[in-house]
């Protein structure tokens, strides 16, 4: 009698061990099953750096051959005066460069899946330009460029998230 009950307890213990092992594998499988993030991380890093790098060197269409960088510098240097460069379409450098930046972001980050970003040009704590799409409160990749101007060092910051 005693031996039989001992056998039954042993059987129960084996079943419990098997179920525990099964549960352990299920949990392990669920934790390990995450999508590959290699490409996502690569794309974010490359995108932020390459967009800023290319954008700053881009020549404007009808603003006396000035580059985006030149237009940003002009915008910063004339932030307290009205001596901005007036482009061939009648817009001043600030409005003109903002149009270029927004056009580029519309055709890149927004077109590639509504990607959120935050673009800021500042001199010290004074904002010069700002173009944002839902901001970047969470995980992000940021790239900064520093441009010397007559009014101080201008920081161009692009966050892609």
């Amino acid at each position: 009698m005693k031996k039989k009950s001992q056998m039954e307890i042993m059987g129960l213990v084996i079943i419990v061990i098997l179920i525990t092992l099964g549960l352990f594998f299920i949990v392990r499988f669920m934790i390990a099953r995450q999508p590959s993030e290699i490409k996502l991380s690569y794309t974010r890093t490359e995108t932020a750096a390459n967009i800023l790098n290319s954008l700053l060197k881009t020549t404007s269409e009808d603003c006396y051959g000035m580059t985006v960088k030149d237009l940003l510098v002009d915008s910063a240097e004339n932030m307290y005066s009205n001596n901005h460069v007036i482009c061939e379409n009648g817009e001043n450098s600030t409005a003109y460069v903002l149009n270029i930046i927004e056009q580029v972001f519309d055709e890149t980050l927004i077109k590639w899946g509504d990607q959120n970003f935050d673009f800021r040009a500042t001199v010290g704590s004074t904002p010069i330009l700002n173009s944002t799409h839902n901001g970047c409160p969470g995980e992000k990749e940021a790239k900064q460029f520093y441009i010397p101007t007559d009014v101080g060092l201008m920081t161009i910051n692009l966050e892609v998230c």
Binding site: I15, L21, F29, P35, T47
Partner: protein
């Protein structure tokens, strides 16, 4: 006789449950193994698409250079116009570099223009799209344009 029959039934029931548990465990193991293999495959495909992107970005046939100094992240438009025709005519020579993929250069500012650099599209497979923002240099007008190098990779299963 009756007691031994009950004993036999008990043993059979226990063995039945045991084998069911064993079968469930085996099925689960196979599923985990398959998922792990799929993850490895996805990683491999991702790495291959990045490799193709890097090769396309640094293709000597397209790179901007001044006095033999290469400018990073820049494509010479004049080289691009000639190279796109030559690469598409000699696609088999570039297969080892780009495999089954489509590489397109698109100018998005100031005007919109597209060049198909390499096209070896494979149907009935997934597509991995990698865009790379680049600078397009026009040596004739000495101007830089904003462009995108678009790489679509079609992995073969």
């Amino acid at each position: 006789m009756r007691k031994s029959q009950i004993g036999m039934s008990e043993t059979i029931a226990i063995l039945f449950i045991f084998f069911i548990l064993l079968a469930l465990g085996f099925i689960f193991y196979l599923r985990v193994y398959r998922a792990s293999a799929e993850t490895q495959y996805e990683k491999g495909v991702d790495l291959m698409s990045i490799e193709i992107t890097q090769k396309a970005s640094f293709l000597p046939e397209l790179q901007c250079s001044k006095k033999n100094v290469v400018t990073d992240n820049c494509i010479d438009v004049l080289k691009l116009e000639s190279a796109s025709a030559i690469i598409n005519e000699n696609r088999e020579n570039y297969y080892d570099l780009f495999f089954g993929s489509e590489i397109v250069v698109e100018e998005i500012y100031p005007i919109k223009k597209t060049w198909v650099l390499y096209n070896n599209t494979i149907n009935d497979t997934s597509t991995i799209f990698t865009p790379v923002p680049i600078l397009l240099y026009n040596a004739t007008s000495n101007e830089h344009y904003f462009g995108i190098l678009q790489i679509k990779y079609f992995p073969i299963k």
